[in-house]
Amino acid sequence: MSQIQGEKVGEATGRPYLASRLCLRFRSPVIADHRAHPRRRSPCLQRALLTCIVGWLLLVPRLPLAAELVVANPSAPVDALSPTALRAIFSMRLRSWPDGSPVRVFVLPDDAPDHVQFAKQLLSIFPHQLRRAWDRGVYSGTGQAPNRVESEAAMRAAVATTKGAIGYLPREMVDASVRVIEVE
């Protein structure tokens, strides 16, 4: 079950720029192959490889694939959310579930590795962009801040016990107390 969801989550990150990064990552073993046979390289190929390597070094975050899953309180009225809806919820711009009940958003601290991974892989945005969106809402009166929790265990407990809650957890922390929300 979690395997299948993992693949779905992987697909959800398939926005153009992340997709190209992921492709580069998958190609990296090929680059290593070519290194093993240096004499076969043409100058053109060499240049292409160099570009790939530099690009890979510059662009690809050293992160495991889709380690985070979106989780909600078991009372959540949906099993799945679109990437657009997910980003709108975590940007604090979509305030309610489809049935009109309030969403309660839980996040880890901005610099927590799980938060960074979640933002980049599932929302396709950087943590500093999320922070800017929240601050703009809070300090211009047009929005509210998400609820911050300090640890994964606190995240699971908060999501499990708060009606309308949504958050994220590393795959190994997910248990029956929360509902996994597919992103599709």
């Binding site: 926005r15 720029y17 975050p61 959310l81 679109s82 657009t84 809806a85 980003r87 709108a88 940007s91 711009r93 979509l94 305030r95 309610s96 489809p98 009109g100 009940s101 309030p102 969403v103 309660r104 601290p109 901005d110 610099d111 929302l123 396709s124 945005i125 950087f126 500093h128 962009q129 800017r132 969106a133 601050d135 703009r136 809070v138 300090y139 211009s140 009166g141 047009t142 929005g143 509210q144 801040a145």
Partner: protein, 415 residues
């Protein structure tokens, strides 16, 4: 310490006490989840070269008269309805020592809200959606630098820019090619800025400045949650001056400001590039009588700014900011010929380099250095040599320097 400063200090202390009490109360009584209280507090230090002053007597051993304290509360009884208010105490030298004021306070109702869109309306005192930074201009954590680029975000008429009383409709469409945001408001501008009033009355004429029906709006496009941001915003701010009876016959006057701002930003993980361009910022005055001749200036300003987050918690910013009060008189030569006052008061070219350190998510320290040519964004209230005064002739002895620099430090806390 003069009376306004003392009042401001008292006001700020009261606000701080209020903030601490509220946040303690919030924890003690467990406010409902739909209520949030946040705030910020900052203290700056500004030192300037020569005899140029910015935010107080900064040229004479530096000025500590730069403080901002704000507390805001929001209550969301249902997902569609939110009430918000922010109270701010601000001291910025002579340009702002009016103590505590309500910066915004409004009700926000969303008529349509689903995964793809959000449409609604706000009523009350609402922040003006101008450029990227105006709506949260007092919150140091949301600014790219200690001082916002002054060519576009004048601090000397900060209240007028920040918010206005009226109605605003807003909309948001989230599509496969990006998100579109619209805001449009019909408002009455705030006219309580000391420097702004001084601009009309030269500190000498008694009377009242009031806002009239005005318009403000912005269209913003964001791709990939803000990787690319493009916006156009503008307004048509109008007001009138009503003189009080005085020893000479003063006439009613009208003023009008029509700013137009184009904004662009690119956000990568470690760096951001931002530029804003105000190709047209018209200021028009009519009917003030012989002491402020009818006039219409079309100014122009822009800045380009790079920020680089070179380590977690650290950020550096580099910016060039260019302001012209009259684009047909870019170097102020005509102004000098006509008025006898310095040409350099009509433009400013500012190179800024700054450093930000987020010690914790709640505490931030900043330092920055400005190398400036021109005095276009200094305040006449603090630099009497800038502007002709028909009643109290200014001595040009306290002349100001065309080439000058500014160094600033800021400590900021938020909750």
């Amino acid at each position: 310490m003069d009376t306004p400063s003392r009042q401001a200090c008292t006001g700020l202390s009261v606000l701080l006490a209020l903030a601490l009490t509220l946040s303690a109360a919030a924890q003690a009584f467990e406010l409902p989840e739909s209520v949030q209280i946040h705030g910020f507090l900052s203290q700056g230090y500004i030192s300037t070269s020569g005899s140029n002053n910015f935010f107080g007597h900064s040229s004479d051993g530096g000025s500590w008269n730069y403080r901002e304290i704000g507390v805001n509360g929001s209550w969301r009884p249902t997902p569609k309805l939110q009430f918000s208010m922010q109270v701010v105490g601000r001291d910025a030298g002579e340009t702002d020592n009016d103590g505590v004021r309500i910066d915004y306070g409004f009700a926000d109702y969303s008529f349509i809200s689903d995964a793809d869109r959000l449409w609604g309306a706000r009523v009350g005192r609402i922040t003006n959606p101008l450029g990227f930074y105006n709506e949260t201009r007092d919150v140091p954590f949301t600014r790219p630098s200690i001082l916002l680029p002054q060519g576009i975000y004048f601090d000397r008429n900060r209240n007028l820019s920040l918010s206005a009383d009226g109605v605003q409709v807003y909309g948001e469409q989230r599509t496969s090619i990006g998100d579109f945001y619209f805001q449009a408001g019909a408002v009455q501008p705030r006219t309580e800025d000391p420097e702004f009033q001084h601009g009309f009355t030269n500190g000498a004429f008694p009377g009242e400045l009031d806002g009239r029906l005005s318009w403000v709006g912005r269209a913003l496009y964001e791709r990939d949650g803000g990787r690319i941001r493009l916006a156009v915003s503008g307004g048509d701010f109008r007001g009138k001056y009503e003189p009080k009876p005085w020893k000479i016959d003063l006439q009613d006057g009208r003023f009008r400001f029509v700013p137009l701002i184009f904004s662009a930003q690119y956000n990568a993980e470690k760096w951001s590039l931002t530029s804003e361009f105000a190709p047209r910022r018209t200021a028009e005055f009519r009917g003030f009588g012989p002491f402020l001749p009818d006039g219409k200036f079309t100014g122009q300003s822009f800045y380009i700014q790079g920020t680089y987050r070179f380590a977690p918690k650290w950020e550096v910013v580099l910016r060039y900011d260019d302001l012209r009060w009259d684009k047909n008189d870019r170097n102020g030569k005509d102004w000098e010929a006509a008025t006898g006052f310095p040409a350099h008061t009509r433009f400013a070219k500012d190179w800024t380099v700054g450093l930000r350190w987020d010690i914790t998510p709640r505490i931030m320290l900043r330092a920055e250095y400005h190398r400036v040519k021109g005095t276009g964004w200094l305040a006449a209230l603090e630099n009497p040599g800038m502007r002709p005064n028909p009643i109290v002739p200014s001595t040009l002895e306290d002349d100001i320097d065309e080439d000058w620099n500014l160094f600033a430090l800021l400590a900021s806390f938020r909750f």
